[in-house]
Symmetry: C2
Subunit: 364 residues, 2 copies
């Protein structure tokens, strides 16, 4: 059963996410009514073309609470009480507790369906918004047991009109999922980075790309992460408790190996942990969100001056090879870098030959 | 005091590192004598041009033990006993214990200086070797208290002839450094990846770029890492014990926040940890191995077909802007990706304007 097409949407909260949704919906011809606790923020979003500040004359098809986790239950409850829409959703990064609170305040409602577009930016506010913020991203849709099919359909249509891929999940399953793939890894990356804060200067100076990748997310502003981790505390703690048990196994193995480098049982326990890590890593989705595909990496030396990387990629493009992923390795006091060009395995050999023939230094 | 120029080097071990050193030295005209426990491996390296299999007629300038950590002490000791060279070094990833063992077997020797070229590849063996493997990488040189100045100079010359940057450090300081910036982070990345191994399918499917970056190194072959972690067990355990203490603080904070989401003291403890992570992250060297520089990231939408990324980078090159770093964001079921173009901050605004004027969709 498909929901009726969305014609009118009210968005409460004109920050990055609310304004970006408004821009995407306006682009597809939906009437959008914007509001924000700050009249200045709301006016800025309206000026950007994300919707009108006029309140709707009657109930809209869909109300979107674009508020942070700690505020979203109140915003949704007030809107349901005022009967402003046929269906109600939100965009918060934590789902179970806020939705449970709203459902408790409005028992029997079928019009409530949670949502979480998994996209964001380092910048915030309406000025950072963009109509294509959600293009190609998952938008988790979390119905409650009593949610109506039409209501779920409206929220999935919202995701689709924003260019996202709707993924249906229960609220608790969503919270466990983001704890596992986002919140707990973020915290661990921060703990690795904490160690660097107190490290010797000479030690930190020889750091390579591995630890740079591991700690990249640890450079983020702490404030929104404190809020997310707090709102999803129980599922995050469960992931970290399990990780702590593995860490204790690793520490026991290291203690045993420090006492006796030939301790084969300790080495085997360590190998088992690392092998489980390989298995887990292989489960992550590849570039297109499907099953991971094994890509071949072709490393090419690139002189560090404007246009050289472009010249390399133009060369690859002319050879008709698609670059699936690209990394740059970082050099220490040297004028050349290494481009790690990922291509489909069947294209790797020919690419290596073509590049070498074209005068590029390939680390074959 | 500078050492006499290297004219002859013996390399014991013709794997990836030994053969790459041979190739680099041959390129600069040094006479290289290769050997390996496997005659087949040695012959392959010699065929690649990494040196001759003829044993030297008399002592060479420098002997390089290109053996793994567990074998390196024996290889160095035997060579010193046979007086095959003026100076002796190695390339193992752990320094204190093997060098201590050799020094104990040859008390009073001044000819021993440890080394660790911080470069590698996913592949191994002589076939994966390349003369420029060490270009722009740090090569940690670890003298012992009694090492002669000429001997240290010969090892630093080896690093320089391989295109690496020699960095002098004591053996214990080296081991603490690699524990901090490589071994412990690698193990933590593996532990995060271990959690994914047991995660629900739907959860793993919504994973984004953050956890992909954090766990990238966890995809490596476990065997050499088990060996490295075992050989450097005490320094790695010290980093992990400190990390475990921070993890316990995080777990206590999460427990408190699960019980009372309004617990401000728990939230503040969490914020303090994340802020220390930001500080640690900022200490990592930037692209050129100097102090980290803050780069501006310009995100640009790139259609996923051959040549589009090249067209983008050619466009940027024509604008005279140097790309300092480049990332690709991964999309889920969508035909477009996002290129994250890092440039010096002063170039970002103009680049955004130039790209937009050229028809590129910039996430400004």
């Amino acid at each position: 059963m498909s929901a009726p097409a969305l014609t009118s949407v009210a968005i409460a909260g004109a920050g990055l996410i609310g304004t970006s949704i408004g821009l995407a919906l306006r682009r597809s011809g939906v009437r959008v009514h914007l509001s924000d606790a700050s009249p200045e923020v709301a006016r800025r979003a309206a000026e950007l073309g994300a919707g009108t500040l006029e309140p709707p004359a009657g109930p809209v098809d869909l109300f979107v609470a674009a508020a942070p986790p700690y505020a979203v239950a109140d915003v949704l409850s007030d809107a349901i009480a005022a009967r402003v829409a046929r269906t109600y959703t939100d965009v918060a990064g934590v789902k179970a507790a806020p939705l449970r609170e709203v459902a408790a305040r409005h028992p029997g409602t079928t019009a409530l369906v949670g949502g979480h577009p998994m996209a964001g930016r380092e910048r915030s506010g309406p000025g950072a918004a963009q109509a294509d913020l959600f293009e190609g991203r998952p938008w988790v849709v979390t119905p409650l047991p009593g949610s109506g099919a039409e209501d779920v359909g409206r929220v999935e249509e919202l995701a689709g009109r924003c260019g996202a891929t709707a993924v249906r999940m229960g609220p608790e399953a969503h919270d466990r999922a983001v704890a596992l793939v986002s919140h707990a890894p973020h915290l661990l990356a921060a703990l690795v980075a904490c160690r660097l804060a107190g490290g010797e200067e000479a030690a930190v100076a020889v750091a390579g790309t591995g630890v740079r990748d591991i700690t990249r997310v640890a450079g983020s502003d702490p404030a929104p992460w404190v809020s997310l981790l707090g709102a999803n505390a129980r599922p995050v703690a469960e992931v970290l408790q399990a990780l702590r048990a593995d860490l204790d196994v690793a520490l026991e193995s290291l203690d045993a190996l420090a006492a006796d480098p030939g301790d084969q049982r300790a080495a085997e326990r360590m190998r088992t942990l690392l092998a489980a890590g390989v298995t887990g890593r292989e489960r992550l989705p590849g570039r297109h969100g499907g099953r991971p595909e094994t890509l071949a990496v072709v490393p090419v030396v690139v002189p560090d001056r404007p246009g050289e990387l472009a010249r390399l990629l133009a060369f690859i493009g002319e050879a008709g090879v698609n670059v699936e992923d690209l990394g740059l390795e970082h050099s220490l006091g040297q004028p050349a870098g290494l481009a790690l060009v990922s291509v489909r395995p069947e294209a790797a050999e020919r690419l290596g030959e073509v590049l070498a023939a074209g005068g590029w230094s390939v680390h074959a």
